[in-house]
């Protein structure tokens, strides 16, 4: 057992647990994006930062990857931590503003606007889907490609992967894309599920006054090709 102090409270946890697990077990909330039970910690989103140490030596670490240490003093919600988290959330909002999960987190942290150049990505490169595919689905169909600005997640050569079972696990865990579907390019589609649905407008001819609010519309896109 390791004894440490979380927000001034003396606690004992088992050796090998991470700060995040310890804090959450004790009821201290720490927001996370790229963490999921059952997947190896990755430390990509930086949302789970906590402050450790004291005085000049205090520093911010990602709690999801930091194992507990004897006598460690951890603060999960100090001013510095909250400031850093807000900054991270603003950056996430700047890249993926349409993500419901990020929006909710931002709202919970009282962020009304972000200061950075607005982009509209559908990926924050948190690697959840990659780990899901590798560790839970044992498929290793998707992974990181390229580096720096050109880093992206996908299948090799952007083609349907032989090892992909189209389980949809990657889309299930994704905090940013909610549904990354490429139904207009079936050879790249990860699940292809929506292409099998028949939207009502396919039988539009039978309903003259029907209106479609889908944007973009699945059926229209398929018809175009």
């Amino acid at each position: 057992m390791v004894t440490l102090y979380i927000n001034g409270l003396k606690v004992s946890v088992e050796k090998g647990t991470t700060l995040l697990e310890a804090a959450q077990f004790l009821g201290f909330p720490i927001p996370t994006l790229c963490h999921m039970e059952g997947l190896s910690p990755y430390g990509a989103c930086r949302l789970c930062v906590v402050e450790i140490g004291e005085g000049d030596r205090a520093k911010l670490v990602t709690s999801c990857t930091y194992p507990v240490e004897e006598g460690l003093k951890v603060r999960t919600a100090s001013n510095r931590v909250v400031r850093a988290r807000k900054m991270v959330l603003e950056l996430l909002l700047a890249s993926c503003p349409q993500s419901k999960i990020i929006q909710d987190l931002a709202a919970a942290h009282d962020i009304r606007q972000q200061r950075f150049r607005q982009e509209y990505e559908d990926c924050i490169l948190c690697g959840l889907c990659v780990r899901m595919c590798e560790e839970q689905m044992m498929a290793k169909a998707i992974g990181f490609r390229g580096r720096g600005q050109n880093r992206s997640i996908g299948t090799p050569f952007d083609m349907n992967s032989d090892v992909c079972r189209q389980c949809g696990g990657c889309m299930y865990v994704c905090p940013a894309c909610s549904l990354r579907c490429t139904y207009t390019e079936p050879e790249k589609a990860i699940c292809g599920g929506c292409a099998n649905l028949s939207p009502p407008c396919l039988e539009k001819e039978e309903f003259d006054d029907m209106m479609c609010y889908m944007q973009p519309c699945v059926a229209c896109e398929i018809k175009k090709n």
């Binding site: 290793k140 992974g143 390229g146 299948t155 090799p156 992967s161 032989d162 090892v163």
Partner: protein
């Protein structure tokens, strides 16, 4: 794509975790790029998933997934080269080759790429063509360099090149000169030695010009064969303790007139050599 070739490469490098980059490098050296089939073959051979290999292949700039031309031209656009006119050089090369950075000409002769720094900032603007560095580039030099590259930069001009000079060598044991005036290579008497490999035994002449790799021989010696070399006069085997720095094969020592030793690799096709003029060179 011959998957046997890939499996030979994998076998040679070994399929341990650290070997992937070496395997990809070998494939790239062979095909000048990484073909999709080759990556799939590597995945099968090493038991690694394709995405891991694809991730590594796309991560490093040294690897290319598209076919590259015979000649690779890199234009430095680092800060120092940039302010000294690198972009103008790049533009001129792009104009003359009719391609943009990162592309290959349609005749597969040239691939042009821009790099961010070559670490030779004092020489800027720098252009590297097939491993040869051209410093303080001017737009007027572009055409000449491209023409030279087309012919081949590795072909040395024997008459004018300062790096090429004749060596007079003799046997380390009997001190008899090994030069053979009857057999002339590159306009100089050649070095005549006796080689044996397998059950064949015959004469072998190599150019006495240091820097030239011209040879002639009684038998065709297959590349990669390690031969035993003998003095044609005293029949002693020319062998020292040294190993080739390139391939690890034994080196063949010969005495240079005026003092010093030259050693050449005994593996056919390996260009490993070592010239040690001792104190003589500095005098």
């Amino acid at each position: 794509m011959a998957s046997e070739e890939i499996s030979t490469i994998v076998e040679k490098v070994g399929s341990s975790k650290g070997g992937l980059i070496s395997i990809l490098e070998e494939i790239q050296a062979k095909y000048s790029y990484l073909p999709e089939d080759a990556l799939r073959a590597v995945a099968e051979e090493t038991g690694r998933s394709l995405i891991d290999i694809y991730g590594v292949a796309t991560f490093y700039r040294a690897f290319s997934l598209k076919p590259r031309g015979k000649h690779l031209i890199s234009v430095c656009l680092g800060t120092a080269c940039h302010v000294r006119g690198g972009p103008a050089i790049a533009e001129e090369i792009e104009r003359q080759l009719g391609i943009k950075g990162g592309e290959t000409t349609s005749d597969n002769e040239f691939t042009l790429e821009t790099v961010n720094c070559l670490g030779a900032c004092a020489l800027g603007p720098v252009v590297v063509a097939d491993g040869h560095y051209f410093s303080k580039m001017k737009i007027s030099m572009v055409k000449e360099i491209l023409d030279k590259v087309r012919i081949g930069l590795d072909r040395v001009e024997i008459d004018t090149d300062q790096r090429v000079f004749p060596l007079e060598v003799s046997c380390a044991r009997c001190n008899h000169s090994l030069l053979d005036p009857r057999n002339v290579i590159d306009g100089h008497p050649s070095i005549r030695i006796t080689v044996s490999f397998g059950n064949k035994h015959g004469w072998f002449c190599l150019s006495s010009l240091y820097g030239s790799y011209e040879v002639s021989s009684e038998y065709d010696i297959p590349t990669d064969t390690i031969v035993n070399v003998f003095c044609p006069h005293c029949h002693a085997e020319l062998i020292g303790g040294a190993k080739c720095g390139e391939c690890g094969a034994p080196m063949v020592p010969m005495i240079v007139r005026g003092g010093g030793v030259v050693q050449i690799c005994s593996r056919r096709g390996c260009k490993g050599h070592l010239l040690d003029l001792g104190g003589a060179a500095s005098e």
